[in-house]
Amino acid sequence: MMGSLGPHADFIIASYAVTAFVVAAMVAWVVLDHSALKRVLGDLEQQGVTRRSWRKDGA
């Protein structure tokens, strides 16, 4: 593939590598953020905290 990309293959490969890295970072950020938030929400609900009211028996 390097040969078919001509004398400037390094620049082409670097462009695709940087793009792949940034896209992977965005996907990872969204996925990891979602699982962390779900975990915190689950913990709060287990402690009896709800958005509508605070159940004192769960405190």
């Binding site: 940034v22 709060l44 402690q47 905290v49």
Partner: protein, 246 residues
């Protein structure tokens, strides 16, 4: 489901949960098709194989600008209509727009070295695109450092609308000033100046990047709604603990 129903975050979350897997699958499929087409596209008669960088650079530039356009619409929604999801949409779009603008700048720089002989020049197109990245970083900083989220949202909305002035500057910079960057060759009067053997892969890649943007944007909006729920619940928990100890 009426459009107004989507103003309800819970209904919006249900819709996102339904739509997201299909959108993600469509993104992967269109990217696969686009990348195969891009790798098999012929070399440009002047630039050789470096034209393959265009399949990343141009869609990233479009999405960098589209992200700010979307944020500007969301800013109007925040300031004028106080739509509950407008601020969520604006905040979720900022890091994505910044990332695509960053890709545009880096790939442009890597394309510029073999084509122009330099990684960077302070011409109007490149500089206005760098300004867009700095504006993105400024809005992100406003969102994440404001102690009161509502005040932070309003400040970010105002900054977004002011920053929207940069969009026509980016678009027309190549016409208004003498720039090293080439003038528009796709969206221009008289039609595209690019041969279909290169234009079609470019448009497929642009569609793939657009699908990726909206997939990530919906997912980031879902996260932002959950983050606000966590914040509300933590505040209620802290308040209840304070009342219990008083």
């Amino acid at each position: 489901m009426a459009l107004i129903d989507l103003a309800n975050p819970t209904r919006f979350l249900r819709l996102v949960d339904r739509v997201l897997p299909w959108l993600a699958a469509a993104t992967v499929i269109v990217f696969a098709v686009g990348l195969v087409q891009a790798m098999n596209a012929p070399d440009d008669y002047q630039q050789g194989a470096t034209v393959k960088i265009m399949f990343l650079h141009v869609p990233a530039a479009w999405l960098g600008m589209m992200g700010w356009t979307l944020m500007s619409a969301a800013a109007l929604g925040t300031l004028v209509w106080r739509h509950p999801l407008a601020d969520v949409a604006g905040k979720a779009a900022a890091p994505l727009g910044a990332a695509f603008t960053f890709i545009c700048l880096v790939t442009g720089s890597l394309w510029g070295r073999p084509t122009w002989g330099t990684y960077w020049v302070w011409d109007a197109r490149l500089t206005s695109m760098l300004v867009l990245l700095l504006l993105y970083l400024g809005v992100i900083a406003l969102y994440w450092t404001a102690e009161d989220p509502n005040r932070g949202a309003r400040a970010a909305a105002v900054m977004t609308l002011v920053g929207a002035l940069n969009l026509p500057i980016i678009k027309f910079s190549v016409d208004w000033w003498n720039t090293l960057h080439q003038p528009a060759s796709i969206l221009r009067m008289g039609g595209s100046a690019i041969d279909s053997s290169i234009l079609i892969p470019l448009l497929v890649m642009a569609l793939a990047f657009t699908l990726l943007f909206f997939t990530l944007h919906l997912a980031a909006m879902r996260n932002e709604i959950l983050r606000r729920r966590v914040r509300t619940m933590q505040l209620m928990q802290a308040q209840a603990l304070q009342e219990a100890s008083a």
